[in-house]
Subunit: 297 residues, 2 copies
C-alpha cells in the first residue's frame, strides 16, 4: 500500500498524563500553576488565531461556577478547558465552525477535538443513566460519578466514543461514493455507518455497504483512523472489494451513489472545474481515504 496522508484531527502534542487524573493534589497543583492556560471557546467553536493556532487565556477567564477539566500539558504548561454547560447540537457545524476548521493547523485541531468532546459530553450527561440522579465531575474532568450524597448510586461514567466505519467499495478500478440528502450540493463521499454491538470492523463495513447500497463486499482492509468531534466518533477508514457494480440504494440513507474512476477522484480532490463532484474537506478522513486509493493506482 502507498504511504497514507496523515488524517485530520490527529497529531496533537498534548501530553494527557492519564496516570494523575485520580490525583486531586496533582490537579490542584496544576490549577495553581502560574503557567496554567484556559482554552478559549465560543460555545463549542474554537477561537482561532490568524496563523491557525488555538487561542489560550488565563484561568481567570473561566466561569467561576463551572468545573474545569485538565486536558494535559502542552509546551510544559497545564492546559484546562471550562466544563460550563453548552446547549448546542454537537452534530451540526455552522459557518463559524467550518471557517475555524479550515483555518486550524491539523495538530491544533486534534487538541481542540479532545477538548470539544469533553465539553459536549459533560453538557449532555449531567445525570446518571443507571439511576437518574445527578452526577458530578470526576477524575480531573475526564469522567463523572453519580453523586451518593444526593441519593445516587455511585456509578462512574466515562466519555463516550462511537466507532464508525467509513469505506470505499472497489470494483474494476472504480470506487463507490454517495451523497446524503442534507449534504452541500454536489458533495459526494465514502459511505459510513456506526459499528453496532456484537460486530467487528470488517463485519460493519460489509453490513453498511449492503444495507445502504446493496453492494456485497469481501477482503475488507484497514487504511487509517481519526477522531471526529461532531460529537465524538472514531472514524475507521477501510477499502473493500465489491463482487459486482450493481447498486440498490436505501433512499432513506442516500440520495445518490456512483462508481468513480481514478480520474474522477483526482479531479474532485484537486477541485478541478470538470470534477464530477465536490470532494469531502481535507480534514475529513474520507479525503485521506480517497487520496490513499488514488495513490495506489
Amino acid at each position: 500500500m502507498a504511504d497514507i496522508p496523515t488524517p485530520g484531527f490527529t497529531g496533537s502534542p498534548l501530553v494527557r498524563i492519564d496516570i494523575e487524573r485520580d490525583n486531586r493534589a496533582y490537579f490542584d497543583q496544576q490549577l495553581g500553576s502560574l503557567s496554567a492556560r484556559l482554552l478559549r471557546l465560543d460555545g463549542l467553536t474554537p477561537q482561532v488565531t490568524d496563523d491557525g493556532r488555538l487561542s489560550w487565556g488565563s484561568l481567570a477567564e473561566a466561569d467561576p461556577e463551572a468545573d474545569l477539566a485538565l486536558l494535559g500539558l502542552l509546551d510544559g504548561k497545564p492546559r484546562f478547558v471550562s466544563l460550563a454547560r453548552v446547549d448546542e447540537d454537537p452534530a451540526q457545524r455552522n459557518a463559524a465552525m467550518n471557517t475555524a476548521l479550515t483555518m486550524l493547523e491539523r495538530e491544533e485541531a486534534a487538541t481542540y477535538a479532545a477538548a470539544r468532546c469533553l465539553v459536549d459530553w459533560h453538557s449532555r450527561h449531567a445525570y446518571c443513566a443507571r439511576c437518574g440522579q445527578p452526577s458530578r465531575v470526576f477524575r480531573s474532568g475526564w469522567a463523572r460519578q453519580c453523586a451518593r450524597e444526593t441519593g445516587g448510586c455511585g456509578t462512574e461514567h466515562f466519555p463516550r466514543t462511537d466507532p464508525v466505519v467509513i469505506m470505499l467499495a472497489e470494483y474494476e478500478g472504480r470506487v463507490l461514493v454517495g451523497r446524503q440528502h442534507r449534504w452541500p450540493k454536489g458533495r459526494y463521499s465514502a459511505l459510513a455507518g456506526f459499528i453496532e454491538v456484537g460486530e467487528s470492523i470488517e463485519e460493519a463495513v460489509a453490513r453498511e455497504l449492503h444495507e445502504e447500497a446493496g453492494v456485497v463486499v469481501s477482503d475488507v482492509r484497514y487504511v487509517a483512523s481519526q477522531p471526529w468531534p461532531f460529537p465524538s466518533q472514531l472514524m475507521i477508514a477501510c477499502i473493500a472489494r465489491a463482487e459486482s457494480s450493481e447498486i440498490s440504494l436505501d433512499a432513506n440513507e442516500l440520495e445518490h451513489a456512483l462508481w468513480a474512476t481514478r480520474d474522477d477522484i483526482r479531479a474532485a480532490l484537486e477541485a478541478s472545474d470538470d470534477a464530477p463532484f465536490l470532494a469531502p474537506p481535507p480534514y475529513a478522513i474520507a479525503h485521506t481515504l480517497l487520496s490513499t486509493w488514488l495513490s495506489e493506482g
Copy 2:
C-alpha cells in the same frame, strides 16, 4: 502479512434488518410469527447445547412485563431477546460464563455477543443522561428514548460500544506481553486500553504502551478486530515497532511485563509444559494477535 486467524465473537449469520427497526408494524409482524424464537439466557449467561449452540425457546417463555428486542433473522426465523433488567456486573465472567464461552461455536458466540450487549445496556441505562427522566425502549429494542409523557426531554440514546486498542510492541524478534494483578495465575497477554476522545487508533496504541510500560513505538499497523461483550468493547488489535526494550511499568495497571520470543509464544499458545506463561483463551483477540505475529516469523 500472513493469513489472520478468524477472531472470536465474529461470523454471526444474524441478518440485522436495521432498515426495519423504526417500523413498528414490521416488529409486530415478526412478534406474531409462528417461527419467532427467544434466546435463552440465565441473567447474562447463555444456555449452551452439547454441540456448542445457543438455546432458543418460544416467545411464551419471556417475562410478559419485559420489552423484547428483535435481534434479526436467523435461518429466516425472527429472533428475539428479553430486555428484562439484569443486575450483574457485566465486566465479570463467572465459572458458568467461562464454561459457556469455551463450549460455544464462534458464530454462535457472535450472535450471543450482540444479544448480551443489548440486554446489559438496557439494564444499565433506564434513565436519560441528559435530563435524568426515565427512558423507554425504542427502535425494536436497539435504542431508548427519553419519555416526554413523564416530563422527559425526548433525547434518543443508542447502545454504547467502547473502542479499545490491544497491541504488541515488537523489538528485535520479541513482543511485549504483560499481566494485570487480578488475572489468573501465570496469564500474560497483549497490553490494552480504551481509546480516548480526540485520539486515533494509532495514537492510542502509542499512548497506552508508553503509559503502561514506558515503551516508545512507531509504525503502528492494524491486524484485526472483534467485539468483546464484557460489557461492550470493540477490540482493535495492532502491532507496533518499539524503539528499545527498556520497560518502565505503571504498577497500578500491570503487575509484570516481559519480552517474549516466538518460541515462548508458540509454547504458550500450544499450552506446552515448558510454556513460560499461560496464553489468553482462543476466543480473545489477543490470541489471534499472538498467532498472527507467530505466523509472520
